[in-house]
């Protein structure tokens, strides 16, 4: 497939499987990501939304080369037009790509916050003081150990590490839970400023109502595949502007909308349906959906993996 030189990260047909052993010690393959696609350009914030367990965090690990040894990967990941190899990943970790991890347990429990956010260096200290202040962290935060922080404070320290890096690509995995609305808005405003400097940002989040406001585009994941990517403005408009029945269902289930969930649950990776992964729960499914995986189609400035998306 042709590489777009202007993107920072471009992912095509990515599949990830885990080799597992069952109770009789027989090897089985668990396919956790199937034919996933995603791209992000300089200056752009792409929000990734979707079901819990749909492979959002796994994607971050795949890009950074942090998958466990029993994972096998197929498909293409390109960083600035170059195939992302393990050597390149090693160079980019902590340099070209910064990760805001999902779990606050990623902070080193034996190091004070200062040492984990640039150390005693003068320029770094000034920068840290500025960033902490804007994130609403108290002055003495740098002297605390992680166990002395509340959940929301730890989350803000993690976010600050991305603000303090000079990475061109920032992957923020659930940066806002535990923060108040005002703190979340502040953190997202700062991500937007980083984007204006020309950096690319992937924002993995469940707070989709915030994502609609702050992102340029939204990618919706389901059962390890991308079902739709669309301009964030389409999500603000609501179901009529959306293309995939799962995206519409996500929007409808927001408490500020109808709060009505569709029934059923996401398929288990060991037991994926043969055709469209969403078909078993889809109100619009036909015999074709149960048999064949729908291709990705371009519709109204977005992409959708559905035979009937319009």
């Amino acid at each position: 497939m042709e590489q777009n030189k202007n993107t920072i990260l471009e992912i095509h047909d990515l599949s990830i499987s885990f080799r597992m052993y069952d109770s009789r010690f027989e090897q089985t393959e668990l396919k956790v990501i199937s034919d996933l696609y995603l791209s992000v350009s300089p200056g752009e914030i792409v929000a990734v939304a979707g079901a819990s367990g749909s492979g959002k965090s796994l994607l971050a690990s795949a890009v950074l080369g942090l998958l466990p040894a029993n994972a096998s990967l197929s498909g293409h990941i390109h960083y600035k037009g170059q195939e992302l190899t393990p050597e390149l990943q090693k160079n980019l970790r902590g340099g070209g790509i910064a990760l805001v991890p999902q779990s606050v347990e990623f902070l080193d429990p034996l190091m004070k916050v200062r040492s984990q956010t640039g150390g005693r260096d003068k320029a770094k200290t000034a920068e840290r003081t500025r960033v902490f202040k804007r994130l609403g962290l108290p002055d003495d935060t740098e002297n605390l150990y992680p166990f002395e922080l509340s959940g929301g404070m730890a989350r803000r320290v993690l976010v600050s590490t991305a603000m303090l890096s000079s990475a061109e690509l920032i992957i923020a995995d659930e940066p806002t839970p535990g923060m108040s609305l005002e703190q979340s808005l502040q953190a997202l405003t700062m991500f937007r400023e980083l984007a204006r400097e020309g950096r690319a940002i992937i924002l993995i989040t469940h707070d989709i109502d915030l994502a609609f406001e702050f992102a340029d585009r939204v990618a919706v994941f389901y059962a390890g595949t991308t079902v739709e990517t669309a301009p964030a403005s389409d999500f603000k408009q609501g179901p009529r502007a959306l293309r995939h029945p799962y995206s519409k269902a996500l929007w409808e289930a927001l408490p500020q909308n109808s709060f009505r969930p569709i029934p059923g649950s996401q398929p288990y990776p060991g037991d994926l349906p043969k055709g469209c992964l969403f078909a078993p729960r889809c109100p619009m499914r036909t015999a074709e959906c149960m048999e064949h995986v729908p291709p990705v189609r371009q519709i109204r400035g977005g992409e959708v993996r559905c035979f009937y998306g319009s």
């Binding site: 079901a51 108040s180 609305l181 969930p261 649950s265």
Partner: protein
């Protein structure tokens, strides 16, 4: 009467600042009370106190006018934000449920738990699916009150709506009182009979 916190104060260590100071609230059976507050206001501490995980330094927690029982299953059950941390990773889900009583077939449908999930380990389920087990476990134990501490924060909107539909329906059926902690005002508006805003009475 019902579940009551009376002039409760708590701090983590006798030389630390108070996390909660002289707080009182009460909750009736069949009622859903939502506590709204940003992080660091002592919401989770309050939840731990009400469910008997922590003891208040001053004041008392009363159930129908008496202290929480010290033995047996606590009639006030806490459901946590991270179900993966509240489940034994080496137990299959069947064993998790059996811990709070024999598995009844009709309950599986009520809680939206598929039969195949019973033979899986927690890591083989999604967050929403694990949370269903945590709710089933709490309700099957004969709880009279449940404390829901940000139980849907880590879930997608569809799972969140499913979980709350389940909790509200099953609690109403059993006349259980719910204390829900969240920072999502829209969610609070959907589920609450009554809302207490903790941020209103402090800084």
């Amino acid at each position: 009467m019902a579940l009551e916190a009376k002039n409760v104060s708590f701090r983590y260590g006798s030389n630390k600042t108070w996390v909660l100071e002289n707080k009182s609230l009460s909750l009736e059976r069949g009622e859903c009370l939502v506590i709204l507050a940003p992080s660091g206001y002592g919401k989770t501490t309050l939840a731990m106190l009400l469910a008997g995980y922590l003891k208040p330094e001053r004041g008392e927690i009363l159930l129908d006018g008496r202290p929480l029982p010290m033995s047996g299953v606590c009639p006030v059950q806490l459901i946590f934000q991270h179900p993966e941390k509240a489940l034994n990773p080496r137990w299959r889900m069947r064993r998790v449920l059996e811990e709070s009583g024999a598995i009844q077939e009709d309950m599986m449908d009520e809680f939206g738990i598929e039969r195949a999930w019973l033979d899986r380990f927690p890591r083989e389920l999604s967050g929403g699916e694990m949370q269903r087990f945590c709710i089933a476990r709490a309700l099957m134990s004969g709880a009279e009150f449940i404390i829901c501490d940000e139980i849907s924060t880590m879930l997608d909107t569809i799972s969140q709506a499913q979980i709350w539909e389940l909790v509200l329906r099953e609690a109403a059926k059993r006349d259980i009182g719910i204390l829900a902690i969240t920072h999502n005002r829209f969610l609070a508006g959907r589920i609450a009979d009554r809302i207490i805003d903790l941020s209103a009475d402090r800084g």
